[in-house]
Each structure stands twice: as C-alpha cells, then as structure tokens.
Symmetry: C2
Subunit: 414 residues, 2 copies
C-alpha cells in the first residue's frame, strides 16, 4: 500500500469540482460534485438519528433502487435541508434532476448530500444558477480534489483528503480516493454500522455490488464510528463509496488488500475529522487493549475520548488521571478497577499515568510536571489503556475541549 | 407542604457542623458532620461507575450491615479518596472511628462520603486534628446548616440547601431537610436508581427501614438522576437519607405526603445542582410530554438537556432549533419527526420554536430576534417538548456551556 498525493479523483475515471453559488454568508465554496465517467457500484451508510435530513432519506431510497448505475455525488454545504418536510425532498430531487440534465445523465444517477444549518430550505435559484459552472469545472487532478473537498466544509478549518494505491493479488493496481467534512455535531454510536459526518470514497477497483456495502460497513465501524467530537449525532451523516471498476482486473471484494485500502483511507479521514474538531488544539487518540470483548474495547475507548472532563484536561495539559479512570468506569465496559493501566504513548516514550488502578508514582510532584510539559508540546495525545480483562482492542479518536469550541457553537447560527 | 428556612438540621433532633482542616489549597471548609441525637434508619444510593471511591464501597457495606443504627454522616471535601485501593478504605475507616470515638458512639454509627481530586489519599493527620473542633461546633439551626452545607462544596459557587414541612394523614407534622454539592462530573443514567453528586436528606418522620430505600430510589430517579452537567458520571456519587423518627406519630412510609416531601426536597436540590453547574450562566429545564413510555420521556429530556450543542446555543442565546431536534432524534426515544412540537415556556408566555417538526414560522427573521432577546434575559430557560406519541412525561435539568466551564476544567487539578 502506498500513499498518493491528491484525493477524490486519484482513482482512474473520476472527476470533481467545487464552486461558490452564494449559500454561505462567508462566500465560501458551497457546491461540490464528484463524477465517475462510467456507471459505478455504490454503497452508502446514513445517520441513525431519527430526525433524518431530506438528502439522507432520498440517498437511501436511491441506493436501494439503483445501487449500480450511480455516476456521482452532488453536495450542498451551508444548508442541511433537515426539518424541511416533503418539500425538502422535492427540493433535493429538483437540484439532482437539474444537475443530471446538465450532465446528460439519466435520472437517479447522482446521490445527494447536504450539510449546514438545520431548518431553512435550499435556495434553489442559487443552486440552479451555480450548476453550469460546477459542471464546466469538472476536472481530474489535485486542484479539482482540493476544490471539491473545500466545497463540502462548514466549520472545518481544513479540507480532508486521502489517496492510496495498492496491488491486488492478481497484480491489478487499484486506487482509493477520499474526502470528508466534519468538525461539530459528531458522535458515532455502536450498533448497526452507520456513518457520521460527510465522507466519500472513490475507487477504480472492480467490486460486486452485494459486498461493497458490507466492506464499507465493517471498515466504517472501526474508523468513522470511532470518532467523537461533541457527542451530538447529526441528522445528515452520510458516507458513500463509489467503485467504477476502471482499473480492470478481477473482482477486488475478497482481496484483503482492497479492504485494507478502504480501511486505511477511512481511518485517515477519521483522524482528520477528529483533529479538526471544532475548536480543537490537539488530536486525542485512545487505544484500549485487554478488553473482554470488542464492544467493551470500543465503549471504553470512546468513553475516554468523549469525556468532556478528559477533553478539558487535555486542553489544559493537565494529567488528571482520575477523569480517565472515571470515564473507563462509566463506559459500560467490564473492568477491574484494580488492574487498570494507562500510559501516554508517544513515538519517543511510554509514560505511565495509571498503574494497577492507582495514579502513577510521583504524579502529584515531579513526574506530573514532566507530563504537563510533554502534553503542552504534543499536538497528538496518544493514550494507551490496558484493561487486563481479555484480548480485544479498539481505538477511538477525539480532540480537546477549548474556549473556541464554545465560541464557535454559541455563535454558529447567528 | 410548606417551605422552611434552613437546611439539614431543620428536622427535629439533628445537628451539623462544618470546618476547614486544611485539605484545600484555598483554605475553604472541607470537613462536614451531620449528627442525629438518636439512632436513625438510613438508606443510600451510590454511583454506578465501576471505579468506585473508597467511601462509596465502605458506605454501601455499612448500610448493608447496619442500616438502622446510623447516627450521622462525615464528609471529606477536597480529596475524593478514589483510586486509593484498600489503603483508602482503611483511611476512611480510621477517620470514621476517630470521629465515633470523639462522639462516644459505637463503631459503624457514621456513614462516609468524600469529594474532590481523584488519586491522592486523605491526609489523616489534618482530618484528625480538625475533628475535635468539628464535634465541638455541632449545632442545630440555620448557621449550622450553612456551615455544614458549605463544607461539602468543591467547584460549587453556592451552598445548596432545602427544608420542607408537611402534615401526615394522622396529623403528625414532619420535616425534611437537605443539602447537596455538585457542579462538575455530573451525569446520572437511567437504569437501577443511583445517586449523582453528594446529596443528604434528614427527616424526623418515622419510617420503616425496608421502605426507606425504595422511597429514596423512586424519588431520586425522577430528580437527581435527571440532572446532567457534563455527561461524566462520578466515582463518588452518594445520596443518603436519614430518618430519626423524632417527630413521633405513625409510620410515614405509605403516606403520600411524606413521599412528596422527599421528592420535592430532592427536586429542589437537583435544580440547584444544575443551576450551579460548572461555568453555568443559565438553568436549562427540559420537559418532555407525549412520550410513548417513561423511559422514552426521560431519554428525550436528558438528550436535549445534555447536548453539548444545545448547551452552547443557550449560552449564546441562539434559537438553534435544529440542535434540539437532532438531540431528540438521537435520544433513542421513539419519535415521529413530523409531529415534534417544542416551545419556550416562560411564566409569561409560550413561544413556539418547532411546530410539527419544522422551525417555527419567522424563526430566521423577526421571531428569531425576539426569541434571542428573550433568551438573553432569562436565567432559567424552560423548554417544553411534545412528542405526540403517547402520554408519558419527564423533566431533565441542565445548564448552558460557557467559556468558564472550559476554564474551570482545564485548570481544576493544577
């Protein structure tokens, strides 16, 4: 497996574009289009929130009916098109039809997604006015990757892209490209796999339609579903994977190399989302091992990464280990409090924080001061937890809680 | 039912005191004692966190063995005595024994509680040195109520007290007094009843030991278990109820008036805890009606009151109704998104926010501006949610999320 530069158009046969049509007061890009030059197999995962945005309802419906004639994804950023009733679904259908017309595609070729403020309807006239330019600017290459990735952002501070290349067992070289947005209203849950935020993967691998969803589900559960920023599960979460088969060769479904490419691409986007959590100054990575079950490992990792108090302590570079222990204790995972080990595991050192359920020796004195200095320097805080209760392992990604998070969310709407 | 001035010693036969023995760097009071002049029936509820502080383990053990010879509660504030292993339990036993000696009480007469920083052990010498003064200052009356209530606080900005008086069916006048602390690490969960924070009730009613726990459990589930500040369930949560029977008369267990007194006292303390949540500028009260089950009503109310994004919006006086709908959607409650109604229900007006699943008309314009001005003025934000799915109702109490919350928790430990 090899990292490539670029993003969503890195696989053969994909183009993309992103423009501003005037949906955001800031004037930032707000319309994004991904297009495959041939029909692609498609799979999608959607929010489990019972309040579902119109594009989520419509996207699921389109995939159920036409999963293998998909040509692309049209994303509106700035307006969530949620709480908009049947009219919201009609609005989304209308802009998809308009874009399909401009691209001379049959109906139901494009998948929808929206992100932004909940409540208002999509200003159709602005989107319509922007579509010709959006179509005209469709390109292959790194500049197009950047334009498309920027045009799906809301409170994000940077675009999130990934491109990987690998060799299947039959020798075929396949590529996976991806882009994502997500900074707030981010809180995946265990259970049936589901997506959080907006995430799109493209690949030129040949994949059977039946297995594409299963591969996406399994890898998303380990990656996107293990990101938490604020505990709020969105109404609009959508994750799409398009496979257009342009690389040729045999079917990639059963090839471990293909699953690894998809998993690695999702993991990289998941980390990027956590790192760019609203107001975040540090990425928080929590790896739990020695759990009695995978569910326990995931619950424990997510409880620590999502704890408001742990997040505030990390922002303050405060080695407040009691909060880590408390989060593990309420996580629901089966733990023996007397056997907990927690360490700060940086590339250069493993620094104990909790040893057999007690604060590491010296934590209140010199050792604590050194950890504090270390925390101040790190922009990724990697916590390793060992439960000594079994053999399951999981990793969760989060971020610290800063003043900026409050500022962003006290003022986002107005 | 009638409100009285005062707190924990309002019922007949109770005394209390609070002093500073030097556990807190701030020099604030840190040792608190409640004493009944005769043996009392006692019930307790404890955290469901799997990491349990020494006083939680010990308190539960004492109640299981001696529920009806209890004379009082000794609270240490500043040190949680959690993650301290068997030595922590020995430490707590030692200070209880020392206090029992000073009071000439038999062993196992006093119940323990601790709150403060997790990790360090109790400085036994300081507590021992403070006990004589603590015992000497035991008094009945409002000054003693204040001293005892102040001495259990940590990041709280004010003492939380309640005193109520009511008449049983047989004519007996009984009193319920209470005090509580709690500002951060506050997140009750549904399920088996359990306490959050420290809360103590005293009463002079005569109550059978068997039913006391059931009454406390049921009323706590509706009150203390519906408070959320930060989603972090503590290692030290403890709720005690002591009934010394000094009012005479018949048994109060089956008397609805007694249950109502206990429930009202707990509700008043629960509201006080939410209002004094770390950094809070506003109390948030969420009442859900029309739910299909009590569990649904509770989940829905708690999801809204606990949503980081709703809390930040309330701080910013921002009528961001999409966040309320999203929280209801991920709460797990069975809702029909098209039938949601949400209003701001102040004593003077009912202002619609969501009508049949859509933002209230005009929310983006003049109506929104008026709501914003209203939110700026209110120090209690009362949200009313109607799910139109059944007949169950529940209320949850929370607070907004401010810059101060981050400041307090980025700097608490160091």
């Amino acid at each position: 497996m090899e990292r490539m530069r670029g993003g969503i158009t890195a696989p053969t046969g994909f183009r993309a574009s992103g423009i501003a049509c005037g949906l955001k007061r800031s004037g930032r890009p707000d319309l994004s289009l991904i297009l495959s030059d041939r029909p692609a197999e498609a799979a999608g995962l959607f929010t489990t929130n019972r309040v579902r945005a119109a594009p989520v309802i419509l996207g699921e419906e389109l995939l159920a009916a036409h999963g293998h004639g998909i040509r692309g994804i049209l994303t509106v950023s700035g307006v969530a098109n949620a709480m908009t009733g049947p009219e919201g679904i009609d609005d989304n259908r209308a802009i998809l039809a308009e874009a399909e017309g401009a691209l001379k595609l049959p109906r139901a070729s494009l998948l929808p997604a929206c992100t932004g403020i909940i409540g208002p309807r999509i200003p159709l006239d602005r989107v319509r006015a922007g579509l010709p330019q959006l179509v005209r600017q469709l390109r292959h290459g790194r500049e197009a990757d950047r334009h498309a990735a920027h045009a799906i952002l809301t409170t994000d501070t940077r675009a999130k892209m990934v491109a990987l290349r690998g060799r299947l067992e039959d020798g075929t070289i396949v590529r996976v490209g991806g882009m994502a947005k997500g900074s707030g209203m981010i809180a995946p849950k265990l259970g049936p796999p589901h997506a959080t935020t907006l995430g799109y993967l493209t690949t030129d691998a040949r994949v059977r339609p039946d297995t594409l969803g299963a591969i996406l589900g399994r890898e998303a559960d380990r990656t996107f579903n293990m990101v938490t920023v604020d505990g709020d599960t969105s109404t609009n979460d959508t994750l799409y994977l398009l496979a257009n088969g342009a690389a040729g060769g045999g079917y990639a479904d059963d090839d471990p190399a293909f699953r690894q490419l998809v998993g690695s691409a999702l993991e990289e986007l998941a980390r990027a989302i956590a790192r760019d959590g609203e107001g975040a100054t540090k990425l928080l990575t929590v790896t739990v091992s020695g759990a009695r079950s995978l569910a326990d490992a995931r619950s424990a990792a997510r409880a620590v990464a999502g704890s408001t108090l742990v997040k505030a302590a990390i922002f303050g570079a405060d080695p407040n280990v009691g909060r880590i222990a408390a989060a593990l204790g309420y996580s629901g995972a089966r733990i023996d409090p007397a056997r907990l080990d927690v360490a700060l595991h940086t590339p250069r050192a493993e620094v104990p924080l909790i040893v057999e359920g007690r604060p590491a020796p010296g934590l209140e004195n010199g050792h604590g001061k050194r950890i504090r200095e270390l925390l101040l320097r790190l922009d990724e805080v990697p916590l390793r937890v060992h439960l000594h209760a079994g053999r399951a392992t999981a990793t969760a990604w989060g971020c610290d809680l800063s003043y900026s998070y409050v500022q962003i969310n006290a003022a986002y709407h107005t």
